[in-house]
């Protein structure tokens, strides 16, 4: 999957609407996720951030269009979207608890394996898996069951699983929620390192984290895009301050 950067390696969402039996969780959203930058998606609870990601990864049905590599993600099944190079994590870390860290990564790396090859045991650690173990800092824990990992480590493992798949687009849903300050910093640095030519979209509540690492921010509110821009641009935006009331105003005065 690791091809050169082609001009279609970005996600272009146009007029996306997700309708849950008459309730429009998302309405007419236009947003473009470009590679090479940490794109943060923020907004109060119920703004539609996770719903947006759900629609782009095949978990919910949406109308409109979401083009990536000349294909519309909206009509595709979840596993087809993954094969196209779009991966995601979930708010609650969901790794395979009984399987080892290595097995977790190996399973993720196996997406393109032929069915018959699956009948053989893994003899060596694939090079890509080895690299990713180093990148996410879990090499020492490779043979431990993923269930014993600390919360932050599970989130890194999930990111690692997207890395071994060489996902070109990663949607990370509240990755740093519940992490310690050190873990947050570690996560931020990890995301910086892997961003490269990838498209990384981070859904976040944590304003400090956003301020430290965001290259670009999209603010959502009540199912619509409220504002877009760099951190300082959106902090200066009165409508954003209004939605966030104290929160952003405080961040603004600090920053």
């Amino acid at each position: 999957m690791s091809g050169p950067l082609v001009s279609h390696d970005y996600v272009e969402v146009r007029d996306l609407t997700v309708d849950f039996d008459g309730f429009k969780a998302i309405q007419g959203v236009d947003v473009t996720f470009l590679p090479g930058r940490l794109h943060f998606l923020i907004g109060p609870n119920g703004a539609g951030k996770t719903t947006l990601v759900d629609a782009l990864t095949g978990l919910s049905r949406g109308t409109g269009s979401a083009e990536f590599r000349r294909k519309d993600l909206l009509g595709m099944k979840a596993h087809e979207i993954v094969h196209l190079g779009v991966g995601r994590t979930f708010q609650t870390a969901s790794v395979f608890e009984k399987s080892s860290v290595l097995q977790n990564l190996d399973i993720a790396a196996g997406m393109h394996r032929k069915a018959l090859g699956l009948l053989l045991p893994r003899r060596t650690v694939p090079e890509r898996v080895e690299q990713v173990l180093e990148t996410i800092g879990l090499a020492a824990l490779a043979h431990r069951p993923a269930g014993i990992l600390a919360h932050g480590q599970k989130q890194w493992l999930e990111i690692g699983m997207l890395l071994v798949q060489d996902a070109r687009v990663m949607f990370l849903d509240e990755t740093v929620a519940g992490m310690s300050a050190d873990e947050r910093e570690g996560t931020g640095e990890l995301l910086r390192r892997i961003a490269g030519e990838r498209t990384i979209v981070v859904i976040e509540h944590d304003m400090d984290f956003m301020r430290s690492y965001a290259d670009f921010v999209t603010v959502m509110h009540a199912g619509k895009v409220l504002a877009e821009g760099t951190v300082s641009e959106i902090q200066a935006e009165p409508r954003v301050q209004e939605v966030y009331l104290g929160t952003v105003a405080e961040v603004g005065s600090n920053g």
């Binding site: 990864t57 993954v82 395979f96 997406m111 699956l118 009948l119 043979h143 890194w156 050190d182």
Partner: protein, 384 residues
Amino acid sequence: MSITTSDAPEVHGAEPAAPEAALSPKRSFRSDLVRTYGPLLGIGVLALLLLVWAPGSLSPFRLGNLGKYCCWALAAVGIGLAWGRGGMLVMGQGVFFGLGGYAMAMHMKLEAAGPGKVPDFMQLYGNGTMPSWWEPFRSGPFTLFAIIALPAVVSFVLGYAILKRRVKGAYFAILTQALAVAFSTLLIATIKQTGGFNGLNTFTKFFGQNLYDPAVKKNIYMIAAGLLIVCLVIVWQLYRSRYGELLVATRDAEERIRFLGYDPANIKLAAFVVAAIMASIGGAMFVPIAGIISPSNVDATASIMLIAGVALGGRASLLGPAVGAIVVGYGQTTLSEQFPTQWIYFQGGLFIVVLLFLPFGITSLLPKLKELASRRRITGESAA
């Protein structure tokens, strides 16, 4: 979550993590060897017991009984794969046991009737004409083919319909259980074609061999026990393969598997089909050993008996299901000799007790015992 974050290697910074990072991911060669081939040793011991010790020491009657348990164990090995590793509580394996059993019984019935003749019960209950779908079972090779192909096709179609609709958990269990009920009801209702409630019995020959010859009986036992060992080796290979890892991962977090680009239905379907084929082989070997196959061998109760053995032995372990099925089979024989009508309550009670107190079966006691022993050793050392 026993590990605190301070133990974790820091993710940021490019400095290579201390020496332990270089050492600990490589487990010792010996422990790898034990992990990989230890189970094979277990299969070897079981093979010695079943193929060498038993034929030399047991009376023909007891050996025949053990043969029956081996047939149930064949189905149980498949259940271990589908339920223990795949998370599908297959409550209707009697259906597949029956497909193989009836295929074999039809062939043996036609063999007993002789070339061009019609099975006796068709003259008794019907007008003496044989349904056309019986005809191919005159051929031995066709019958052997059908014993594999029939359950494979049926389980594929059923499994595809059930698993693609993402039916799981209790709904899956109830659905498969209902299939077993429907299958046995269908058999009972079609007395003219399948022998109905009485099933198919009074065979004389097994692929040309005289069924009353003790040497032939012993050979049939050896085939059944040998097939059990072969299936255990197949399952051992599946468990250590990447497919086995994938199946366990699907059992534990199906949605995650979907978002890693796999279709979990396909992964589970493969295990379901393999389990069905193993049950069918068990059913097919059951017929020449028991001398009968009837709806009571394939109905919901029979299916639950298979499950009870697997639960007792330990559904996710390699040998647990087979050993559990043999133990439950033995228990059924001995207890039902003394309490013919109460056996079924013993069986139900056993199932409940095991699932309540030993959800991973007797084999799950082994690691616990080991742990206990090593703990005692450690406390002993520290005391000394």
